[in-house]
Symmetry: C2
DNA sequence: TTGCATAAGTTAACAGTGTTAACTATATTT
DNA sequence: AAATATAGTTAACACTGTTAACTTATGCAA
């Protein structure tokens, strides 16, 4: 029947369909609600079959984590058209922010959860965090370009990059984990801001621009 | 009525010893490994007894979360002796950073996990996040004092405070979740830094100081 | 064709988790 | 003494990740 045919097709690339099922569940119900058993039910195989294709749940998490970085990389793609270094850095931050807020589950997997990258250390040949490094190198490049254009004088490129990343990451996670919302509901100065994240980001950019 | 009072006290005692047991487990084994059943075993009561004193696990998490904020508040205490506003802001950041790195489990509970503050919304009279607010108000006060001393001119106090908090929070979480370490092991520019967090923080302070 | 090894997938189980309904034993009140 | 309220327990539900042991199907050499 139709189901059997579909099953046959799945068998051809079971590893991929496990990942697809995981992704589907993960995007619709979040990471915690994505259990091995639910993935198995989705592809209509027994839970133990998953372990024939992935070492454990962390390995699936890592595979999704890689997908997330691919998605972010494509969104960073437009940056090549922004010629002015500072404008490019600004745009990079905006893309990062939007990515985090619009793909919060992916963001969690990429920059919050320990599992996907802890998995690296456990397995393989002491593999490093390739995805994160690439993104950071792009940031380093942009910060460096800004410095050549006269920004961030006498400041360490790496340290400035770390700060830029940290600020954005902090803003994203405080928002995503509900801390900003919980505070804005009662703190008057925050209540007045209509978009705290966006306004804070803009202020940060003004701060960066005004470093003498 | 003496008997009733003693009973009340016993009830209070048990509620407190549940919290103590939870804290002990949580500090030695982390949040995830602190299960209701383990807490029960620690105080030598059955797991269900816990539910006579706390609504659910999130309520225990919230109680510990409050303890964490008390601890942070005492560490902030020394700030009153720092008269210069900018130096005080600097010291505040250093205390925050040290607190996060030395009490990573508490930090997770206070600023990362959703459970303890999501619990607020679920129960009570739409209670707000008192602890977080108080800490933020202290930050607002210090940023405002800096502005009166000529720093951060023409910048919104709340936005600057949000950025300061975000930057510190970002730095802390990237470190605590292993993202910095995973990157520093292969990225050359990071390898050269002996203490990435500390050096980045210092750079951030220089950046703030140099805003024209 | 028979016999067998390998691969692929399944069943059943282990050791946990948070949480709840229903029960018991004890102490207090009527 | 009987009724009631309190405190705590047992047993269960519905989950979780993960593993050992089993079955079934396939391809290949004798």
């Amino acid at each position: 029947m139709g189901i059997k045919e579909r099953k046959e097709k799945h068998k051809e690339n079971l590893r991929q369909s496990i990942l697809d099922a995981a992704k589907k569940l993960f995007l619709s119900e979040g990471y915690d609600a994505t259990s091995i058993r639910k993935i198995a039910a989705e592809i209509e195989f027994s839970p133990t079959t998953i372990y024939l294709y992935y070492k454990d749940k962390a390995e699936i998490a890592h595979a999704l984590h890689v997908e997330g970085f691919k998605l972010l990389a494509t969104q960073f793609g437009v940056l090549q058209f922004v010629k002015d270094p500072f404008e490019r850095l600004k745009a990079m931050g905006e893309i990062y922010l939007r990515f985090a807020l619009e793909n919060s589950d992916f963001y969690e997997l990429m920059f919050v959860l320990k599992e996907p990258i802890a998995h690296l250390k456990g397995s393989c040949v002491y593999e490093n965090w390739e995805e994160g490094e690439q993104a950071f190198q792009a940031l380093l490049y942009n910060v460096s370009a800004c410095q050549q254009a006269g920004y961030f004088k006498n400041l360490d490129t790496t340290a400035v990059s770390m700060i830029a990343w940290s600020t954005l990451h902090g803003l994203c996670t405080l928002k995503l984990h509900g801390h900003i919302d919980h505070m804005s509901s009662h703190e008057p100065s925050l209540q007045q801001m209509e978009d705290i994240v966006k306004q804070s980001y803009n202020t940060f950019m003004v701060m960066l621009e005004r470093i003498k």
